[in-house]
């Protein structure tokens, strides 16, 4: 995905400060500004319900800038989306662990979810499945492109989409009965 993961003009793994000062930073800022609305919406779908999607976008940007410049990436949007999915997945795991720990210390008095049931059902799905469903159903991406973002094969992306739809259908029908 990256044209050049390591190295810049001084063959260092981190972006050159001089270049950032002299204008390459502006180029990155421009790229990010143009991508921001789509990234924000994507982050809102994949991030855990307890988390502010804006924070996730910023975290993804920090991780990406640590590796190099946005303008050095072949497809910055796709790269950032991949980082977003992985971050969301890590955060979900961490949140799950913390939730279990707190439950053991102090059994829950109230539920954290305050969303309509459809939305709550969606957020029960793993971030990778939510990412696939969003990109395919809303953004109209092909499974091949979606698979690249999620880091799986095209076939696995299809399976995830179908599993996601099935789970949502099941949850909705359970609520209906």
């Amino acid at each position: 995905m990256a044209k050049r993961i390591w190295g810049c003009c001084h063959n260092r793994p981190l972006p050159c400060v001089l270049e950032l000062v002299n204008g390459r930073g502006d180029e990155d800022e421009h790229i990010f500004r143009s991508l921001y609305p789509r990234l924000r919406r994507f982050a809102a779908v994949v991030s855990p319900v307890e988390e502010d999607p804006e924070d996730l976008v910023q975290e993804a940007l920090v991780r990406t800038l640590r590796r190099g410049r946005l303008s050095d990436l072949e497809n910055p949007e796709r790269y950032l989306q991949t980082v977003l999915v992985r971050l969301a997945s890590n955060h979900r795991r961490a949140l799950g662990y913390r939730r279990r720990l707190f439950q053991r210390l102090d059994p829950p008095a109230a539920s954290t979810a305050s969303f309509p049931s459809d939305l709550a059902d969606l957020f029960r799905l793993p971030p990778e499945i939510r990412a696939v469903l969003y990109l395919v159903e809303v953004e109209g991406w092909t499974f091949r492109d979606t698979a690249e973002v999620v880091g799986c094969t095209e076939e696995a992306a299809r399976t995830r989409a179908s599993r996601g739809r099935r789970q949502l259908r099941l949850q909705l029908s359970e609520e209906g009965t």
């Binding site: 995905m1 990256a2 993961i5 390591w6 190295g7 260092r12 793994p13 981190l14 972006p15 400060v17 950032l20 930073g25 990155d28 800022e29 990010f32 500004r33 921001y36 609305p37 924000r40 919406r41 994507f42 809102a44 779908v45 502010d52 999607p53 804006e54 976008v57 910023q58 993804a60 940007l61 920090v62 991780r63 990406t64 800038l65 640590r66 590796r67 991949t82 980082v83 992985r86 971050l87 890590n90 969303f115 309509p116 459809d118 939305l119 059902d121 969606l122 957020f123 939510r130 469903l133 969003y134 159903e137 809303v138 739809r165 949502l168 259908r169």
Partner: protein, 287 residues
């Protein structure tokens, strides 16, 4: 269901209020710069501490062939590190795959370079070395079966270079899954992903292995560490004097920048016979 699903997804996508993208970018950039400054400061302090530790160790054990090294390896108990007998075999940060260009090893043929490599690592002359030339072109990457006196066969993959000398690509025995391939059968990674830490080798020892030696070449020099029964049972070994920069995390694609150039594991039986060799080349440090 589909229209309902799209609606729900759109609702989820619009669940938060947008911030100023310029502010988000500026904050991210500030965080990256701050972290970079901290890493540089940490590196300076680390280098100073390592220097002090190294001088202290060198003073303690000058003249001894074996020294106890705990520097740069705070995750495990002190480990015996031997002065490396394989400087001629493992390259020292050079761009070429080992054996290094400067070594005196005979590199005139696949058989010669493979035999020299195995002899240097094991300390014994191979009983036989046969190239599997097959029907392919004569001057192409070739597997060489190097048979040792112990009966073990080491499979070496050698390749010709532009000057018609040969170099070794990989050493190892088939992984046992009947794929027929030669692979190093070990993986290298940082002890802790995401933070600067020493490197760890994870390997699959051959049946009957009771001891061994890990020879490894870093950008700072070549080292050898003894594997004891505990290491073999745990199937892993932390390599002193190695480091991974810690810039690689599980969230970002790409390789982990590290100072390891090449590594070779020699496994021996209880009575000292060589059972197997696993070796791999990782290239020079990218940072």
């Amino acid at each position: 269901m589909n229209s309902n699903l799209v609606e729900v997804l759109r609702l989820a996508a619009d669940r938060s209020e947008a911030r100023d993208p310029n502010l988000v970018f500026a904050t991210a950039q500030r965080r990256v710069r701050k972290r970079r400054t901290m890493i540089r400061a940490g590196a300076v302090v680390g280098a100073a501490l390592s220097g002090v530790g190294f001088v202290a160790l060198a003073n303690q054990s000058s003249g001894q062939r074996e020294q106890r090294v705990a520097a740069s390896d705070s995750t495990t108990a002190p480990r015996r590190v031997l002065a490396a007998p394989t400087d001629v075999v493992l390259s020292d940060g050079g761009p070429q795959v080992w054996p290094s260009e400067g070594s005196a090893a005979d590199r005139s043929s696949a058989v010669a370079v493979s035999s020299a490599f195995v002899a240097s690592l094991t300390g014994e002359a191979p009983a036989e070395a046969v190239a599997r030339q097959g029907d392919g072109p004569q001057f192409a990457p070739t597997y060489v079966d190097v048979k040792l006196a112990s009966g073990a066969t080491i499979e070496v993959l050698a390749a010709p270079q532009g000057d018609r000398s040969w170099r070794i690509l990989q050493v190892g025995q088939p992984p046992g899954d009947s794929s027929g391939g030669v692979q190093a059968d070990f993986i290298v990674g940082p002890v802790e992903i995401g933070t600067p830490s020493p490197l760890m080798l994870k390997f699959a020892p051959p049946i009957g292995a009771a001891a061994g030696t890990a020879y490894y070449s870093t950008t700072e020099g070549t080292f050898a560490a003894k594997l004891d029964m505990e290491d073999i049972e745990q199937r892993q070994l932390v390599l002193p004097n190695t480091f991974a920069s810690g810039t690689k995390t599980t969230d970002t694609p790409g390789p982990e920048p590290m100072n390891l150039v090449a590594a070779a594991l020699v496994f021996r039986s209880g009575d000292g016979l060589v059972l197997s060799i696993r070796a791999g080349y990782f290239g020079s440090f990218a940072g």
